[in-house]
């Protein structure tokens, strides 16, 4: 760390064209703070909380393995690459490069966030807590759990192209609601709504099992929802 700091301070001195080896103390303090923020924290692929075959027959082991080890991993790999480039761009004060990276960060960062949330809101055990916080919130907004299921199903199926259907918490209305986001757009960062339950509607999420018959996929996924996680997220969001 100290070696890097020497290089960094040298670069700083060069950039502000100081002849002296002594930087103003405020500047050295802030450069250390800046550098430690860019210490290269890398995203890693989280383990699934269940075996690849645990969600069958709703989602096959083949899809789970591909989805986790290939698709999610690729978002992580590309996110880390984009973050490294972002670090350099920030250190160099290259505003143009920072802006140019936004698309890659949203796509790959969103992909990482969304899939991490997704694995957690699926489970072979889909026990539902009648009368709990989540149940009350769903009834308040949708009339019933089935009413909610119906609406999120319809929203998810209506997505054109690639995207995600979400149950969200709206901190402004203090109610749950439904949202759809395109591509890998992360819910909270792009809408301010807090994600509670996500359904991946990208074709890779279901194609090997269901081909073009999206409705069968969405119908089946309700058998493997981890309602406890959804409820915990709601409680945390409130």
């Amino acid at each position: 760390m100290s070696g890097k700091k020497v290089i960094f301070d040298t670069a700083l001195r060069a950039s502000v064209n100081l002849q002296s080896s002594k930087l103003p103390s405020e500047l050295t303090k802030s450069s250390t703070a800046l550098f430690s923020a860019l210490s290269g924290v890398k995203a890693t692929l989280p383990d699934l909380p269940y075996d690849y075959n645990a969600l069958e027959p709703a989602i096959s082991a083949q899809i789970m393995e591909l989805h986790h080890t290939k698709h999610h991993q690729t978002y992580i790999t590309n996110l880390n690459a984009a973050m490294e480039k972002m670090d350099s761009a920030m250190i160099n004060g290259d505003v143009s490069a920072v802006i140019a990276l936004q698309g890659a960060l949203k796509f790959n960062g969103g992909g990482h966030i969304n899939h991490t949330l997704f694995w957690e809101n699926l489970s072979p055990n889909s026990d539902y807590n009648e009368g709990g916080t989540l149940d009350k919130a769903l009834k308040e907004r949708f009339g019933s759990k089935d009413g909610f299921i119906s609406e999120l199903t319809a929203t998810s199926l209506a997505i054109q192209g690639s995207g995600w259907g979400w149950l969200v918490y709206n901190p402004k209305t203090k109610m749950v609601d439904i949202a759809a986001c395109p591509n890998q757009d992360p819910v909270e960062a792009t809408t301010g709504l807090k994600p509670l339950l996500g359904i991946d509607m990208w074709e890779h999420a279901f194609y090997l099992d269901y081909k073009n018959v999206k409705p069968d996929y969405v119908k089946a996924i309700w058998d493997v929802i981890n309602w406890d996680t959804v409820e915990a997220r709601l409680e945390a969001a409130k």
Binding site: F107, G161, N183, Q184
Partner: protein
């Protein structure tokens, strides 16, 4: 249409059955038959777009595009776009699907389903079985324009593959080689979902596709799963450069999109 013709034959034949000996009832039987036949031939949905037949069997693009994908892609995905555009255009003036493209952004269903129908009809027509495709090549005019626009065919393919890479057309979409609006050069553009460059507002100006590749996951997932770059680099083996050259000649002359069947 076949059903209409069959019912015409049966109906007309039955008009001459013994039960219809009296000429007035035969006239009635015939006119009823004609009415029924007409109704079958011209369904109440006025636009009646249809999925064009593939110009080759489902297995013809193997091993580069697999048979199950061709079947599902053509018979299910394309058919769904056609069913939906027909629903959206019910009761409206009948126009070729190409004519719906310019203002497609005005209406969501036309953008998604009209675009989907046009794009897929365009796609089937520009491909050919590998042994046929490898005998095709760009016309002199097209080759010259490729060199002028990209430097070389290899350079064009390289740029096309980069544009088709996962993340480049984020999510679902298409990659196109297009003639720019002024007709002066070829460009490579990506469009999301079922948009295409003929739609006003999708790009800075309307551009005319001569070649396009579907990079929606349904186009390759059964065989390639996440390996989209492999799908794209293999796809060149089934491109019919004679048809692409025809497309180029057409758009250069008419400054309009290539018409498609269906």
């Amino acid at each position: 249409m076949k059903l209409a013709i069959a019912s015409l034959f049966i109906g007309l034949a039955s008009a001459w059955s013994p039960a219809n000996d009296a000429s007035s009832s035969r006239r009635e039987a015939i006119s009823k038959t004609l009415a029924a036949g007409a109704a079958l031939a011209y369904p109440l949905v006025s636009n009646a777009y249809s999925v064009p037949d593939l110009p080759y069997p489902y297995e013809a693009l193997e091993p580069y595009i697999d048979t199950p994908t061709m079947k599902i892609h053509h018979d299910k995905h394309h058919a769904t776009y056609v069913a939906n555009i027909n629903k959206a255009m019910e009761g409206k003036e009948e126009v070729p699907i190409l004519d719906l493209m310019e203002n497609a952004l005005d209406a969501g269903p036309v953008r998604n389903n009209g675009g989907g129908h046009y794009n897929h009809a365009f796609f089937w027509s520009e491909m050919a079985p590998p042994d046929v495709a490898k005998k095709t090549k760009p016309s002199d005019a097209l080759a010259k324009m490729i060199d002028a626009s990209f430097g070389s065919m290899d350079e064009m393919k390289s740029q096309f593959e980069a544009a088709a890479a996962p993340g480049a057309v984020f999510g679902s979409g298409w990659v196109w080689v297009v003639l720019n609006n002024a007709g002066t050069k070829l460009e490579i553009v990506g469009t999301p979902n079922q948009d295409n460059p003929l739609m006003k507002g999708v790009k800075d100006e309307i551009k005319f596709p001569i070649l396009g590749l579907d990079v929606w996951e349904h186009a390759y997932y059964l065989k390639y799963q996440n390996r989209r770059p492999e799908y794209v680099s293999n796809w060149w083996n089934v491109v019919n450069w004679d048809k692409v050259s025809e497309n180029f000649a057409y758009v250069s002359e008419k400054k309009s999109g290539v018409p498609v069947e269906g």
